[in-house]
Amino acid sequence: MAQYATNQFKSGLKILLDGDPCAIIENEFVKPGKGQAFNRVKIRNLKTGRVIERTFKSGETVEAADVVETDMQYLYTDGEFWYFMNPENYEQIAASATAMGDAAKWLKGEEICTVTLWNGEPISVTPPNFVTLQITETDPGVRGDTASGGSKPATLETGAVVKVPLFIDNGEVIKVDTRTGEYVGRARE
């Protein structure tokens, strides 16, 4: 397996730490003039999404993680797995609920997602930054109340619940930012 030395550390590098694939977010070189050099590193665990800090003695090596990110089209779910297709070679893969994380609640079908594969297996899925979905359940819209800042919960066709302005009606199609889970606006017809 390939190894990376600390002097190759940079943001985005994929390494194996405690058996889990991780991505380096930030690498800081710390060295007393007359002392041991360290690399103080912020790392995201790609399986859990958690960010941790680690310190390495400079010159140490770590194992590289075979991690690739590919754009794939979401097809359907059977309740246990979510199926994606590589639009270039039509290969299909199945992602578990763990790998899907929060992504599942934004997807209805045909979206192009970023699927992170570790040793060929999907470990995480990032939905498109913006999705357009129909509201299936919300309190009736309040006419004429477009100025006041109030909001109410709305359930979308995928089951996700987002806060929408009071004037939005049941059945409307809205645009949502999946990174924040926030309502962006009405989707244009």
């Binding site: 060295k31 007393p32 003039g33 007359k34 360290f38 680690r54 003695k57």
Partner: protein
């Protein structure tokens, strides 16, 4: 990096002018005190034996190698032994592999030596220099032990590795494969937990280091014995390192051998020590103190630059 733009400098015109202005003021300060400006070779047959310094080699046509200096310390001490009196030098030095927000493998040192001074007298003079560069800068002084007691509630001269390891754990530090070397643990705690907090309200001088970290300083006997060494911190950055210099040739030779033994343990090649320095010490180095000031970081501290690249005309990747 964008190849179309990497011909451009890291430092802006203003930062270039700040550097030129700093050098002018430094030279005036030294000149007013009768400290002589000197130049010494950058390429030498001997190299730095310190296991934490990595010298860059320069191959010679005859197959031999010379080493780019990591500091001008040895030849400057040879000048002192030859009776130069107080001397200073502003020069580029080279340390392989040191790169980051506060590091460039090629950087600039101001180094000066004062015969007849001990480390406290030289700290006084460094304070006077800083006050001249930034009126209102007043230095605080703490001992290495004092700052460890204050920040981490432990005695760095006595604490066993287990105690240091526990202190790191409590501070939330997770370290990969750091083993039993006490000084490595002290370096970890000092560089991660203490140094970033030093010099926030004005420059801070830390002195009296553990004897095991004496480098080229003399060790003052006592309980515990301490190295007569100091460092200057401003805004969490280590800016300078000084010694009440070791003048004992036999002790210097012992340290060279010990350095190379530890290099061997760490899997590093032994470095050829500077035998001419030993000969100079043998002939007699006057009692003196010396200090090396990192001018790139001093510029950062003086003018609020966040990254060393902002004060370098061409940082490593564009050099």
């Amino acid at each position: 990096m964008n190849p179309d733009l990497d011909w451009r400098p890291g430092a802006g015109r203003e930062a270039l002018a700040q550097r030129a202005g700093l050098y002018r003021r430094l030279r005036r300060f030294m000149d007013q005190r009768g400290i002589l400006e000197v130049e010494t070779p950058m390429l030498s047959r001997g190299g730095a034996t310190d296991r934490h310094l990595h010298s860059l080699a320069c191959a010679q046509p005859d197959g031999s190698r010379r080493w780019l200096h990591t500091s001008p310390e040895f030849p400057m001490k040879r000048l002192l032994a030859a009776g130069s009196g107080a001397i200073y030098q502003i020069c580029r030095v080279f340390r392989e592999g040191e790169r980051g927000r506060l590091h460039n493998p090629e950087f600039t040192l101001l180094e000066w030596y004062r015969p007849g001074f001990d480390h406290h007298l030289l700290m006084d003079e460094l304070e006077e220099l800083l006050a001249e560069l930034r009126p209102g800068w007043r230095c605080s002084r703490v001992t290495y032990a004092g700052v460890f007691r204050e920040r981490l509630d432990l005695d760095p001269h006595e604490a066993q590795v287990e105690v240091l390891r526990e202190a790191a754990r409590i501070a939330g530090l997770r370290v990969e494969r750091l083993e039993g070397d006490r000084d490595d643990w002290l370096d970890l705690l000092f560089s991660h937990c203490i140094a970033p907090t030093l010099g926030r309200g004005g420059p801070c001088l830390v002195h009296d280091y553990p004897a095991s970290q004496a480098a080229l300083a003399r060790v003052r006997p006592g309980t515990p014995p301490v190295a007569e060494r100091f460092e200057l911190f401003i805004e969490g950055m280590e800016i300078a390192n000084g010694f009440h210099e070791l003048t004992d040739a036999a002790e210097q030779e012992r340290r060279f051998l010990e350095d190379n033994r530890r290099r061997g343990e760490a899997g590093l090649p032994a470095m050829p020590p500077d035998h001419r320095l030993l000969a100079a010490l043998e002939a007699g180095l006057p009692d003196c103190a010396g200090v090396a000031v990192g001018l790139d970081r001093l510029l950062m501290a003086l003018h609020g630059h966040r990254h060393i690249d902002q004060v370098l005309a061409f940082p490593w990747e564009r050099a």
